[in-house]
């Protein structure tokens, strides 16, 4: 019996799981919607029906269900299900004179139901819609927190498109990336047997579009249907297996320890799309990551523009199927591939299979790629896949791009110069024919070949070699002026000359290529360096803008606009043309195609949008969000003169690098501004406080003297006339009133300056109430003050000085508006989770018209002429209470007088441990 090793889950895997779960929880907070796909083998299996039934059930459970878009195709059973569910009106698109109804995503986002039914997941939207594909619409709905039910046929799955196209002879253009399918929360297979489906077809229960009827009839053959059903079942089973595995991971049930099943797909010149699809499928089956790369060699550089675009298209397809893509450059494909594989830790390489070739051509071409790789690295698995083109692949009929013709023109010039050079050499060498050996004259021609090779590359060099041989033969080899050769050994000379010419041409041409690659890499690096250097020196946003436009516009030969958000996170165009910081109007004038709405979308979603992306690809600008560590800082809009530039992965990546640099520079400037602002604030606050302190001292000192002197007058003069004592007394009283006024004004100034700093402490409220009553004893005079405290009041965390001031002001106010023999009641209680303190008087009450403004500055009760005061007291009360996070209000009592109440948040008082204080 062998001892099994303890089954322990891989800590990395567990960690990944935890992070994933955390992400899930995060998204739950944002209410990320759930996607359910009704999946079927072909049209007519009843997906829409099943979806509607489920929707109806949910609606009956009280869920808010909305039909986003459903095609009933006039089938009564289906139409009956639609009844009773809310239906979203469709949006009309004018398209070539025809009107097309489309799903209205904006209306759906506004309606925001709990669950939305969206038929035909793979549908391609009419041009002018927000997203080219409906699944992208659905993605947005999910992000907005709605659950979505949708339907999908197996043939619309991207990775199965080829296979099914091969089986049925019909390829569809409407595809959904597998990663979207795999990411769906639920996939429900709607399955019926082929026989039943055919029966339904006969009964006319399957909708077929009229134009495609004949093709569709071909499609609905029993063999096809069975194959499709099998594929659909298997694909669903794959998913179920993934789910089970994910479950096992989570429950840490022992599983096979997976090695890294990463795949590297090498895109070649032909059939690259099939390689990509196969690799995607394989990667899906292995459950690993995969990369797709294209190695550009000198030879491949000379490919026509259409071929290149095909290759770039394959790269883009790979990206959409979930691959990381790269364009590599190098001399030998095999070694570049192996280097890449080693760097990224790939153990499997997927290659397209070459058509079998004759022995002769093999000799000529040398070894195939897979043989080379196999020879160089034994530890790499090679997977060869068929590169057979799918049937309905249209032959590319793109007209040659202008660049191709311009390169051709260059070639013609090269050949003319080569011809002239050869002829000139002949002319120069003719007078020397008697003085030099023929072997040395050959040297001249070889020199020309080398020169041409260096200047124009391989093909003109070969031409120079051949033409040189001919000229040499005709003009110099006896018999001269004829192609006849008298001495057989000259044939050897020709052969050597030809060989040397060709080899030199080849070598110099690759040298040139290397130089060019190195130069372009160097210039890229230099530019990046210069750019980051200039940006790091920028201290203002304007400098970033100027640097960006002046450096990037020539580099990418593009129009560049840097769009920055304002305070409300709305983007404004900040810059455009070099040497001018343009405002919004001129930007939209100079960039008529620049769409601020797309830019805003990109900014809000932090996703790339515009040209050749998933979102609004018809706009010529590409919008790249400037993502800094803390947040998105703006959007970089780029419109290259040659739009295909944006299809090149390395160019895109470079642009993104620049975007990151810009974002970081903007963020740095932002924080520098914040820091400076804080410094200015601190300084100005200091200044303000000093000023207030000085004012308070300067005003108080004379007032103190006045009060004191006036009082001593009234005290010391008691033996004199009563009048002077009275005058002294009145003086003192007025001076005190003035002191109160000064106090209020200073307090208001302090509060108005914006930052009252609370010195909060936990204390029993009665202490503050007692202190407040004590401080206004003079104003209360003969009035009776009653304090009613609820039992077991908790401690409250307040600034005692300020709350005492509130209470004192309220009590003083109560005294001011009530008769000298009335009663003032102060009560404190906990009401509705808030600490409530009320001051109740039996005075004149508050006039109706004063109610709304009573806490405003300089507003007062009636009888202004009788009672003194400026009405700052209540405004100060409100400011203090609000600084505590509370509320203050006033109301008239039922019978007489008014009640002023303020509410304060309770908080969690500290516990008082009295256990050690035993008696």
């Amino acid at each position: 019996m062998s001892i099994r090793p303890l089954s322990r889950p891989d800590p990395d895997q567990l960690l990944a799981k935890i992070i994933e779960d955390a992400d899930e929880q995060d998204s739950r907070v944002e209410r990320h919607g759930k996607l359910r796909i009704y999946f079927g083998s072909s049209a007519g299996v009843g997906k829409t029906y099943a979806m509607l039934q489920a929707g109806k059930r949910r609606a009956n459970d009280g869920v808010n269900v909305l039909i986003g878009i459903v095609e009933t195709h006039g089938r009564s059973e289906t139409a009956a299900l639609v009844d009773g569910l809310a239906l979203l009106p469709r949006k009309k698109f004018g398209h070539h004179g025809k009107s097309i109804d489309e799903f209205d995503i904006d209306a759906a986002l506004v309606a925001k139901p709990d669950l939305i039914l969206v038929d035909e997941f793979a549908h391609t939207n009419a041009t002018g819609s927000r997203h080219p594909k409906r699944w992208q619409d659905v993605d947005e709905l999910l992000n907005a927190g709605m659950d979505v039910f949708t339907t999908l046929n197996v043939q619309h799955l991207e990775s199965l498109n080829d296979v099914i196209g091969g089986i049925t002879g019909i390829r569809v253009n409407e595809t959904v990336p597998d990663k979207i399918f795999d990411a769906a929360n639920e996939v429900i297979l709607v399955d019926i047997t082929a026989e039943e489906l055919l029966a339904r077809l006969k009964a006319g229960k399957v909708y077929l579009p009229q134009q495609a009827e004949r093709a569709a009839k071909n499609f609905f053959r029993k063999g096809n249907l069975m194959a499709l059903r099998e594929i659909a079942l298997r694909r669903t089973a794959d998913r179920v297996e993934d789910d089970v595995e994910a479950y096992r991971d989570k429950e840490s049930i022992n599983q096979v320890w997976k090695t890294d099943a990463a795949l590297l797909a090498c895109i070649g010149t032909s059939g690259s799309e099939s390689v990509v699809r196969s690799a995607a499928r394989l990667a899906g089956e292995f459950g690993g990551r995969w990369h797709a790369v294209y190695v550009e060699t000198p030879a491949l550089q000379r490919l026509s523009m259409t071929k290149r675009e095909q290759i770039l298209g394959a790269l883009k397809l790979a990206e959409s199927l979930g691959a990381t893509t790269a364009v590599l450059s190098g001399e030998v494909i095999a070694s570049v591939l192996i280097d890449y594989a080693r760097q990224h830790n790939f153990s499997r390489i997927v290659l397209g299979r070459h058509a079998p070739s004759s022995r002769l051509s093999r000799l000529f071409r040398g070894r195939y790629l897979h043989e080379r790789i196999a020879a160089m690295r034994l530890d790499i698995d090679l997977i060869e896949v068929s590169t057979k083109q799918s049937p309905s692949h249209p032959p590319s009929t793109d007209p040659a791009s202008p660049i191709t013709t311009s390169t051709k023109r260059i070639h013609w010039r090269a050949y003319i110069v080569t011809t002239l050079a050869c002829l000139a050499t002949t002319l120069l060498a003719t007078p020397l024919v008697d003085k030099l050996d023929l072997a040395n004259i050959v040297m001249f021609f070889l020199l020309v070949v080398v020169f041409v090779a260096v200047k124009y590359g391989r093909a003109p060099a070969a031409f120079a070699a051949v033409f040189g041989v001919l000229l040499f033969d005709f003009f110099f080899v006896p018999p001269r002026f004829s192609f006849a050769v008298s001495d057989v050994q000259y044939l050897l000379t020709f052969a050597v000359m030809l060989a040397v010419g060709l080899i030199t041409g080849q070598l110099t041409a690759s040298l040139r290529y290397q130089v060019r690659v190195a130069a372009s890499r160097e210039s890229r690096a230099r530019l990046l360096y210069e750019f980051s250097r200039d940006l790091s020196g920028a201290l203002q946003v304007e400098q970033v803008v100027t640097t960006t436009t002046t450096l990037l516009e020539p580099t990418f030969r593009a129009q560049i606009a840097l769009l920055l958000p304002d305070k409300n996170d709305r983007l404004t165009a900040s810059a455009s043309l070099p040497n001018s910081v343009a405002n919004n109007a001129t930007t939209s004038a100079s960039f008529p195609q620049l769409d601020m709405a797309i830019a805003q979308w990109s900014f809000d979603k932090n996703e790339i949008a515009g040209y050749a992306t998933d979102t609004l690809p018809s706009n010529p600008f590409r919008y790249i969000p400037l993502k800094a560590p803390m947040r998105v800082r703006g959007v970089l809009a780029v419109r290259p003169d040659n739009p295909s530039l944006l299809l090149m992965p390395e160019q895109t990546r470079q642009l993104e690098t620049y975007a990151v640099l810009i974002a970081i520079a903007l963020e740095r400037i932002h924080y520098v501004d914040v820091a400076q602002g804080a410094l200015v604030n601190i300084e100005s606050e200091k200044l303000r406080n000093n000023l207030l302190a000085a004012m308070s001292h300067d005003l108080r000192t004379p007032l103190t003297a006045m009060i004191g002197l006036a009082e001593s007058l009234s005290l010391t003069n008691n033996q004199n006339t009563n009048t002077s004592a009275e005058i002294g007394h009145n003086l003192a009283q007025e001076a005190r009133r003035m002191a109160t006024l000064v106090e209020n004004l200073l307090d208001m100034a302090r509060i108005q300056s914006g930052n009252i700093r609370l010195k909060r402490e936990w204390l029993p409220i009665e202490e503050v109430i007692g202190a407040a009553i004590q401080s206004v004893k003079a104003a209360v005079a003969t009035r009776q003050v009653k304090v009613e405290l609820a039992a077991h009041l908790p401690l409250i965390e307040i600034d005692a000085v300020l709350i005492e001031r509130v209470l004192a002001n309220l009590i003083e106010n109560a005294a001011k508006f009530s008769s000298p023999d009335s009663m003032i009641t102060i009560s404190a209680a906990v009401k509705a989770n808030q600490f409530s303190v009320a001051v109740i008087d039996a005075g004149t009450g508050i006039a109706e018209k004063m109610m709304s403004t009573i806490f405003d500055k300089f507003s007062r009760g009636e009888n202004e002429s009788i009672i003194h005061g400026v009405g700052l007291g209540l405004a100060i009360c409100r400011a203090i209470v609000e600084a505590h996070g509370g509320k203050i209000s006033a109301a008239n009592n039922m019978i007489q007088g008014a009640t002023f109440t303020f509410l304060l948040p309770l908080g969690t008082p500290p516990t008082i441990d009295t256990s050690h204080d035993e008696i």
Binding site: A705, G708, L715, E766, E918
Partner: protein, 232 residues
């Protein structure tokens, strides 16, 4: 009545304030010396053997707190501080440095003299024999410190040890403002200087046991954000 003449030193830079404080004190037969600066004030305090120092905290030539520390180095003379209202911190610092009481500007003559009398009385009480001071009364409360008995309206009131210690602190400093810090240090010990909510809760218990209306105390008064004071 052959009461000895008491001596007061006023340290205040504002002549009008000096003038009325002097007038008020002289009306109660004090001998008053004035100083307009801290430096001069220190000389006066050292040479006149005062029974009271009235000190303005906001003098232009230095920190009043340092002055208090200086004086406390060699004298227990009551120091009454005059201060502006908005800076409780200054008051606390002055009291912790050894000042006995404070008055907030603007203040009246009556307030000033009431405080002066209270402080002098305490000094007087402290100066007398221990046996006589062991029984202390305020309002309807009688505290017999020798017997450790507290009575209110002739009924014994039960105090916990901390409440009793707190009361003793107040009694031995009657009329004087005791800062939170001071009370916490004296009653709970130096490690509790920051738990002022304990002090407030115990003070509240004490009021409930000894005051008629704890929310409107007549004897155990709150000096908001500064401390407490016991008045007779």
């Amino acid at each position: 009545m052959t009461e000895p003449i008491r001596v007061a030193v006023i340290v205040e830079d504002e002549p009008q304030i000096r003038r009325f404080v002097r007038a008020a004190l002289e009306a109660e037969h004090w001998r008053v010396f004035e100083a307009a600066t801290l430096k001069h004030g220190l000389t006066e305090a050292g040479t006149r053997k005062p029974d009271l120092i009235v000190l303005d905290l906001g003098l232009p030539d230095g920190n009043g707190v340092d002055f208090i520390r200086d004086v406390r180095g060699w004298s227990n003379v009551p120091i009454m501080v005059l201060s502006a209202r908005s800076d409780e911190i200054d008051k606390v610092l002055a009291l912790d440095a050894g000042a006995d009481d404070y008055l907030t500007k603007p203040f009246g003559v009556a307030e000033l003299m009431a405080r002066v009398r209270a402080n002098i009385r305490r000094k007087h009480v402290q100066g007398e024999d221990n046996i006589e001071t062991s029984v202390f009364s305020f309002g309807d409360v009688i505290v017999d410190q020798a017997a450790r008995i507290v009575k209110r309206n002739n009924n014994e009131v039960h105090l916990t040890p901390i409440e009793y210690r707190l009361l003793c602190q107040l009694i031995s400093n009657v009329g004087r403002v005791l800062t939170h810090r001071h009370l916490l240090r004296e009653v709970w010990g130096p490690s509790h200087a920051d738990s002022s909510h304990y002090l407030r809760v115990y003070m509240s218990h004490l009021r409930q046991k000894l005051e008629d209306d704890p929310a409107q105390p007549k004897h155990i008064l709150t000096e908001t954000a500064v401390g407490y004071r016991l008045v007779m």
